[in-house]
């Protein structure tokens, strides 16, 4: 309904000269279009720079060797960093995915009450925490207690970043499974937990996978929490406790070194990292948008995919 005031406002506007209004419209359209161009330029610039500078650094040795001594003639490679990132992603998923999926089940199947709403709210807030604060938290909780930097502390920190994403995407995909599926299960005399595990979860499979992949892409590039938890190292992983290396951390360390070889290596490491992250992101979008995947569109609506 249009109220009287709104009608009066519209009338007021139409007294203006129509030519002036059309010109203003054109100007605004121009400004808006410029905004879009201005936003796209940095992405293209970053991609072009990382790809052109990074490709020059790529050799088999660069991908597999340990880094050479700082400032020496043999720059070495980023092998430990790649290994560390893969191990960290694996371990954090080991912690984050089961808890996240179970939490998602709780929110969707048992969470239609006050407690559920509170958890949903805290979950949303955690999802937006500064990651460095999570790093400091993992440091105080694990590193200070145990006494040394370890991959466990790093994985714990990354799992906290992963958890809210997995939890919310799981909840949303479970909610998209029609109630009739559940009812069919109950009608066959299947217990609730089996209905959830065998019918609902498999119906929501693609949504679950999307959420987990996006969470992995997110933590693969996280640096700030790692500074406090895994510290960085130039050796391959030798034991369960002790500092390890990771790609984003290696990029940061390289960026503070004043040598040309460090610059080249930094671009090379950035190249490997951006390939990992963008492959997951574009892959997920391509597959799910092509299939007109409802879950993905819903995730995007709620700002969970970013």
């Amino acid at each position: 309904m249009i109220t009287t005031e709104q009608r009066a406002e519209f009338r007021k506007h139409f007294r203006y000269n129509i030519g002036r209004r059309l010109v203003l419209d054109k100007i605004v359209k121009g400004i808006v279009f410029t905004c879009v161009v201005v936003a796209i330029v940095p992405l293209i610039a970053i991609l072009v720079n990382v790809f052109s500078n990074g490709a020059a650094a790529l050799t088999w040795d660069f991908l597999t060797q340990i880094p050479g001594a700082v400032g020496s003639d043999t720059p070495g490679g980023i092998g430990p960093a790649i290994q560390g990132t893969v191990v960290l992603i694996g371990l954090s998923s080991l912690i984050g995915v089961p808890i996240g999926v179970m939490g998602g089940i709780f929110l969707s199947e048992y969470g239609n009450n006050r407690y559920g709403r509170m958890i949903r709210f805290l979950n949303d807030v955690i999802a937006e925490f500064p990651t460095i604060v999570i790093g400091v938290f993992a440091f105080v909780l694990i590193v200070l207690t145990i006494g040394n930097f370890s991959m466990w502390a790093g994985s714990f920190a990354l799992s906290i970043i992963m958890l809210p994403i997995v939890m919310r995407t799981t909840e949303e995909s479970l909610k998209l499974v029609p109630v009739t599926y559940r009812e069919a299960g109950y009608a066959l005399g299947v217990r609730k937990w089996r209905v959830i595990f065998t019918i609902v979860l498999s119906g929501a499979r693609s949504g679950l996978v999307t959420g987990i992949l996006l969470a992995v892409a997110r933590i693969a590039g996280e640096t700030a929490p790692l500074v406090f938890t895994i510290l960085g190292s130039s050796q391959f992983i030798s034991g369960l406790d002790g500092p390890i290396d990771a790609l984003p951390l290696r990029i940061w360390r390289l960026s503070s070194l004043p040598y040309d070889s460090a610059v080249t290596q930094g671009w090379g490491a950035a190249f490997v990292l951006i390939i990992m992250v963008l492959t997951i992101n574009i892959g997920v979008r391509y597959i799910f948008l092509r299939n007109k995947e409802k879950t993905f569109i819903k995730f995007r609506k709620q700002g969970m995919v970013s």
Partner: protein
């Protein structure tokens, strides 16, 4: 007599499963509680040593025996840095959101939205690297040096040495990083405005811009404010790119006065000085204390944004359905 076995397995399994699920949900609550407890106990030393002066002081001295810590310059640095980034990114993001929701041809819509989302997917450390090796030189040569030469003598804002590693560079890169956040949320909020609103405006002869200003903007106002606050939350907590670009000074020198002056944010001082702080010392407690302040600020920002965005999306989804 025929017996029908209705359900297989023990009825307790259902209960156990429910409790496991509740446990997983409770884990989130436990995390938040432990976060607050740990950051408080980790920083208790510095609060005892400095008192409330930790918030207002600007000394930063980690030499043993003369230790003194004040977080004021870094709080200011964070606010100024995030503020400038918001000034740049908010109009830009609203422009993008408006283009995507109102003006864009259907064919362009999906790829453009995807590009904006990919901007958000690029890791922060890569923005930092790009800013450090590429963007910084352009900023220095094309913006900072001319501005400094023109206005450097008259205005304190443009005073200082235009070196490239300063507040201006850090906040522009930060702005690029938060554009996708604000743009994609505000786009969703603008799309949630019912088409009947726009059609009413068009029917009265409004141009696209007028329809946007009279029908879409008022309808989505509080949601857009929420999107902006959410972006602010990201900007305040952003670490790596800012650490690599802001120049990193400590103490009173880090209080921002000029655009071309190196500074320090709360997140960047934690990342920078962490390696130098010895375990169990006052220096470490001071860094954890800054973490606690950052946590409180980010928590408040996110709670406000959450309520604004959630309310709007909920009521608008209802409006679309009705």
């Amino acid at each position: 007599m025929m017996t029908i076995k209705m359900k297989k397995g023990s009825p307790h399994i259902d209960k156990i499963f429910k409790y496991i699920a509740i446990g997983a949900g409770t884990y989130v609550v436990a995390l938040v509680v432990m976060l607050v407890v740990n950051l408080s106990t980790g920083s208790v030393q510095v609060w005892q040593h400095e008192g409330i002066g930790f918030l207002t002081g600007s000394d930063w001295n980690s030499v043993e025996g003369r230790e003194s810590y004040g977080a004021f310059p870094y709080i200011m640095g964070t606010l100024v840095n995030a503020g400038i980034a918001m000034l740049i990114s908010v109009p830009l993001s609203f422009g993008i959101a408006m283009f995507l929701s109102e003006l864009s041809p259907k064919l362009l819509r999906t790829p453009l939205a995807m590009v904006v989302e990919l901007l958000a997917a690029v890791p922060s450390v890569i923005y930092g690297l790009w800013g450090l090796y590429v963007f910084r030189t352009y900023i220095q040569d094309w913006i900072e040096v001319p501005l400094h030469n023109l206005f450097g003598d008259q205005s304190i804002i443009f005073a200082g040495t235009p070196f490239g590693l300063d507040i201006l560079t850090a906040s522009i890169v930060l702005a690029i990083m938060i554009v996708p956040t604000i743009a994609s949320i505000s786009r969703e909020i603008m799309i949630a405005v019912p088409n009947s609103q726009r059609e009413a405006a068009y029917m009265l002869g409004a141009t696209k811009w007028e329809a946007f200003r009279l029908a879409v903007l008022p309808y989505s106002k509080s949601g857009l404010i929420g999107a902006v606050i959410l972006g602010l939350g990201r900007a305040v907590g952003e670490t790596m790119a800012v650490t690599m670009l802001i120049g990193n000074t400590t103490g009173a020198a880090a209080i921002p006065t000029s655009l071309f002056q190196p500074s320090q944010t709360m997140a960047s001082i934690m990342a920078n000085e962490f390696a130098e702080a010895s375990q169990g010392g006052l220096h470490l407690a001071a860094l954890v204390g800054i973490g606690l302040i950052l946590f409180i600020i980010a928590f408040l920002i996110n709670v406000i944004a959450h309520f604004l965005v959630a309310k709007v999306v909920k009521s608008h989804e209802g409006a679309v359905l009705a």
